[in-house]
Amino acid sequence: MTVASPTAPQEAGIRTDTAAARRALRNQRIAEVLSAWSLAGPALVLLVVLFFLPVLSVFAIALTDWQFGASTLSFVGLANFREVVADQGFRASLANTLLYVVIVVPGTIVLGLAIALLIESGKSCRAFYRAIHFLPFMATLTAMAIAWEALLHPTIGLVNQTLAGLGLPSANWLRDENTVLPILAMIGIWQNLGYAMVLFLAGLKAIPQDFYDAADIDGADLWFDRLRTVTLPMLGPVAMFVFIVVALKAFETFDTVQVLTQGGPGHASEMLLYTLYRESFEYLRTGYGASVAVVFLFIVVALTLVQARVMDKRVHYQ
């Protein structure tokens, strides 16, 4: 049990403060930094070239009247944005996107949560039910959109055949401006509810059994009391998170519009990303397309920042 004397290191024979030693230390540090940058460098260069320069140029292009392929361009300030805002087509597109999101997000969350609760309420066949409900999220949406088109076909589609069989009125779902957007939203819910379900299942698993035991002892043993006292409040942060993630996915809807409706009839099913695509790459109105991209970017970034704040809060929750 001898304790080393505190002066011992100084008595050691190596002197560390010579110039050579200092130089060696500096060289070693430089070598370390170089090797770190040689690992991180490629990724950084690619990030700049493939993410940051493009996003800056989107802003720049949005301020010009450039058309792809034209050899001249001039600075037009915010003229593109003024045009975008005044454009009936864009207004319809924005309104459609918002309506779509307003249908898809609550629909996906409510159904996803309900199915997750049902699956978790029993022990049998959990993996089976989870797999079935998750399938649409995996499947190639372009291909599934074609299947939906067949289902919704005005004469040979299963939907109308079923409605007719029940004596109910049928419709040309994808060609009627009153039904096209709700139908796209329904496909959106169909595709995303499995994703919400899986996130909710993970959230449910993370609730410690102790809380349910405490609720039992406290007398909250009816299912709605348990739901209110433990399950829903404990899922609150997850639900907020699902909300943002699903909203982002809904805002980024493109495939179904492109395959099923091309924004029609009229502008009835036009959505932001489709407008962005068509203006930029079909009409080659590059400056205009860039302004749409900027608007879209602002919406998505705003949502993501809300998400970041929510996630921050979640960390502090416990």
């Binding site: 102790d210 035991d213 002892i217 043993d221 609150g236």
Partner: protein, 404 residues
């Protein structure tokens, strides 16, 4: 009126507990085997055992959180098998406290009262508060919560959420949530194990005091023997799903029924010396002879248990004296732990000596440790305690003569 209900549970016999041949198995593994135990009304009983011994399962069966595979449980005069936890009049403090993180302390403590005193309709969000009687009951609940919180010294924390409380404060809130509805039985599942050592000692005293103040039955689960020894009226030692012994702490320590119980309790651990019985009154252990009183046949193998503090220093070897070389000395302040290598034994013997009586003990030195015959505990090969018939001084003297 509240205090009358409370008086009732204090004086009536309604909170005694009776476990009868409780069995519990998960698939092929059986966690509890035929456990029978009676707990008196108002008693503080501790279930003590290492993790996985089934003590928590027994507690959860009592709470109604788990269903036993066999046997029955009664609280007071009532069989509670199949009765929901809510209807059992038990409250529980969890190891993790299980405070609802989204509720304030006030709301947390209100939950058990709201669930009992308000109807499902009155508990509806938004609408419920407009139903007749909700307001009055809610005010009553608030008052009760306030009273309990004050009694526990957490009145100033009512508006906070669990995340903003220290460990000790959370522990008090968890106790408060259990206490507020004045249950007949308090269940505690390792309630102190998430606290630091200093706070644990303090909360130990507080819980003991709480028990004395409330006078209701406490069933307390722990793996910590010092908690069990300091707080309990009786301790039930459990191992591998069986009760080894149920007795007051001092008795478990001094007069254990089972080798495993003896080994589980006491620090440093009890010394176990294997030996053979000779002439029904002498045990030979690694060259030393101990005089005992045992009703067993000549040549029976048995184990002598000697608590470290049962040793005292003597000048020379002889009957009931172990001799060996000091291997290690641990200074504990008032005490010394001396580890002694005794020739012929694989384990060193540990003795706890008063520091003032044993100065200058150093490794390598030869020591003679004597034991009084009444401090020798004998265990049969199957772990059962062997108790001698009469152990009068006369008999011991007679044996001494025979040896010399």
């Amino acid at each position: 009126m509240k205090s009358q209900i409370y008086q009732g549970s204090m004086t009536g016999s309604k909170s005694g507990i009776r476990f009868e041949r409780i069995g519990k198995s998960f698939g092929a593994t059986s966690v509890l085997r035929q456990v029978s135990l009676n707990i008196a009304d108002g008693e503080f009983l501790t279930l003590l055992g290492p993790s996985g011994c089934g003590k928590s399962t027994l507690l959860r069966i009592l709470a109604g959180l788990e269903v036993q595979t066999g046997g029955s449980v009664a609280i007071g005069d009532r069989l509670v098998d199949g009765v929901r936890p809510k209807k059992r009049d038990v409250a529980m403090v969890f190891q993790s406290y299980a405070l609802y993180p989204h509720m304030t302390v006030q709301e947390n403590m209100s939950v058990p009262l709201r669930m009992r005193r308000l109807s499902p309709w009155q508990r509806l969000p938004l609408l419920g508060r407009f139903l007749p009687g909700t307001k009055a009951t809610a005010a009553e609940i608030e008052l009760d919560v306030m009273r309990t919180a004050k009694a526990l010294g957490i009145g100033h924390l009512l508006a906070r959420k669990p995340g903003q409380l220290s460990g000790g404060q959370r522990q008090r809130v968890a106790v408060g949530r259990a206490m507020v509805r004045k249950p007949a039985v308090f269940l505690m599942d390792e309630p102190l194990s998430n606290l630091d050592a200093k706070l644990r000692v303090q909360m130990r005293a507080e819980i003991k005091e709480l028990h004395q103040r409330l006078g209701v039955t406490f069933v307390y689960v722990t793996h910590d023997q010092s908690e069990a020894m300091t707080m309990s009226d009786r301790v039930a030692v459990m191992l591998d799903g069986e009760l080894l012994q149920v007795a007051p702490p001092q008795e478990i320590y001094a007069d254990p029924d089972d080798r495993r119980a003896a080994e589980f309790i006491g620090s440093p651990k009890i010394n176990m010396l294997d030996g053979k019985l000779r002439d029904g009154a002498l045990v030979d252990v690694a060259g030393t002879t101990f005089a005992v009183a045992a009703d067993a046949a000549h040549g029976t193998g048995l184990t002598l248990g000697i608590r470290p503090e049962a040793f005292h220093l003597v000048d020379a070897g002889g009957l009931n004296v172990l001799t060996g070389a000091v291997r290690l000395v641990e200074h504990m302040g008032s005490d010394l732990f001396v580890h002694l290598n005794v020739p012929g034994m694989d384990q060193p013997v540990v003795a706890r000596l008063l520091a003032e009586r044993a100065p200058h003990i150093a490794p390598g030195q030869t020591l003679h440790l004597g034991v009084k015959p009444d401090r020798l505990l004998m265990f049969a090969a199957d772990g059962r305690r062997l108790r001698g018939g009469d152990q009068s001084d006369a008999k011991v003297l007679r044996m001494k003569e025979r040896v010399q």
